[in-house]
Amino acid sequence: MTQQKPKIAFFDFASCEGCQLTVIDSLQTNLELLNAVEIVNFREAMSEKGQDYQIAFIEGSCSRKSDEARLQAIREQADIVVALGACAHLGGVNAVRNRQPLEDVRTYVYGNKADWYETYPARPISQVITVDATIPGCPIDRDEFIASVKMLLQGRIPKLPETPLCVECKLLENQCVYTMGKVCLGPIVRAGCKAICPSFGDGCEGCRGLVSEPNMESLKQVMAEHGMADQDISHKLDLFLTYQMMNLENEEPK
């Protein structure tokens, strides 16, 4: 990076925009960040729409044909593209529909206006354009966002944490939620969220995505031993991980 402040931009696709809200929230407690960068495009937070930027943060999944051109235009402009949050990273909850026939889903949501709306199976943005870095989570973790921005400013590319969530839970000395009669995806999901769900007594739902070598079969067996039926296990894995699970199963979207 040169002495000039890098120009950064935020864009959204199919998402709830909660990750961008987390960014705005992070800025309130990290005002130095506003001195370190120049934000030129951030629909959620300002009206200006600059098209000259070096780092693009993209929230949301690619869920229709017309998204592709917009993604490609961002890719052409930006030196660095960062996927922001579970939808951009994994397809997120949007990908739950990928297991169901698209026509059924469209009719369910839009009724007799279904034909008016363009849609197709939701995908991570990395399936359309090259993504340089990912900040995972639903929503993203604010400290991880700040740490990632610092790395980008240093000219480094932040890497996804490879440790499973269990490590973080143990470091915090949380009681394992399995001992409370609940199930948790912690052993196969990336850490980095400060184990926020288990810290409040709930099992991990997997919003940060699978570690690179998840032992799916063994964890499914653990969940079954804790009283879950096969179908419940599949549903648990499909909240945030549908896209990854269908890839592992070599399943095509319907």
Binding site: L171, C176, N215
Partner: protein, 353 residues
């Protein structure tokens, strides 16, 4: 130096005295589990605790620790050395054995100034275990159910009083903070003897082989089929190594502020059962499967540490067994290896013409 005896009624007053000068860390009950944590008053302590999620190791080697701060602009760098006088109270004997191993490791070769500074300022007050803390513990098999050294003071619960063995001059000075510790009488000694002989049968031997055999058992089991079976079950979650009192592997990262010129160098715990632990520059992973990583873990516990430091690498606390969702544990692993061991005579016959 001889034992002292302190009535339990005097114990809170003694801890109050400690709190005047020391940070006191001991077992506290927080919701449904126990943790070693700083205590603000004697009532915070619960010396009847079973076991803790993390061992007291975290007082000497914190999970997340600043090693140094730096400022590239001024070129200044400063080591972060923690010398806060601390009493680590209520340490079970297994954990005390583990600290002896950590001492040996961190003093070895290029001594770790951060660990050593902390260690020199920590007084260890250990506690005799009178019944097994959990079903998973196997301290008796590992020879860690008692201690004869390594503590500053060692407490044994005699019902209405504590028998206190003084292990060091620092321990003696700590005990002098109270006027209520009197030299043990003949009657006290006889109660202490009775308590110690009563406790022994309460603890089961759970290993089917002797610990002195472990290193050899592992040596002949390197190619055992068991590792593949464990590898298939292992979730690779890393919990076993994170909760272990004798694991000390760590990673070092730099954290910077927004100037990008100043920041801290941070040490954080790592573990050999994690998938990326043995990845080196260029991307090669020297232990790329769960199977290899579990084998390595058990070799560390039963063989490598014994060879390097003459101290057992597993103290039988049972924390890893408690933490493992797929029930991989040292007792079953070592026992199964023992059952599957090919007798030496048969091996020789196969190898020799």
């Amino acid at each position: 130096m001889g034992f002292r005896v302190m009535p339990k009624s005097a114990f809170p007053g003694w801890v109050e005295q400690m709190l005047q000068t020391y940070r006191v860390v001991g077992p506290r009950k927080i919701r449904d589990r126990y943790m070693f944590d700083e205590v603000n008053s004697p009532g915070d302590l619960d010396l009847t605790y079973s076991t803790t999620v993390l061992p007291p190791k975290k007082v000497l080697l914190p999970q997340h620790e600043e090693l140094l701060s730096f400022d590239l602009e001024s070129g200044k760098m400063e080591a972060a050395i923690d010398t806060q006088p601390t009493v680590l109270l209520g340490v079970h004997t297994c954990d005390l054995h583990a600290i002896r191993l950590l001492d040996a490791v961190f003093e070895d070769g290029y001594a770790d100034q951060h660990y050593i500074a902390r260690r020199q300022n920590v007084l260890l007050v250990s506690l005799e275990c009178l019944s097994p803390c959990t079903e998973k513990s196997f301290c008796k098999s590992m020879g860690t159910l008692s201690v004869t050294e390594g503590y500053d003071l060692h407490l044994t619960d005699l019902g209405d009083s504590y028998a206190i063995d003084i292990g060091s001059e620092r321990g003696q000075a700590l005990l002098e903070l109270t006027e209520n510790a009197q030299p043990a009488t003949d009657a006290d000694y006889s109660r202490l003897n009775q308590t110690l002989s009563d406790k022994w049968p309460r603890f089961p031997y759970r290993l089917e082989s002797d610990i002195t055999e472990l290193a050899n058992l592992l040596a002949v089991s390197y190619d055992s089929d068991l590792w593949e079976e464990l590898g298939e079950k292992c979730l690779g979650c890393g919990s076993c190594t994170i909760v272990c009192p004798t694991c000390y592997c760590f990673n070092v990262i730099d954290e910077v502020d927004f100037s990008l010129n100043a920041g801290s160098r941070i040490r954080q715990w790592d573990g050999c059962t994690l998938s990326q632990f043995a990845v080196v520059a260029g991307g090669h992973n020297f232990r790329s499967t769960n199977q290899e990583r579990q084998r390595h873990r058990f070799f560390r516990k039963g063989k490598y540490q014994m060879e390097a430091y003459g101290l057992v690498g597993c103290v039988g606390c049972g924390r890893c067994a408690e933490a493992c969702l797929v029930d991989i544990n040292p007792v079953d692993t070592f026992n199964e290896l023992s059952r599957r061991r090919i007798p030496m005579t048969r091996r020789h016959k196969e190898v020799l013409p």
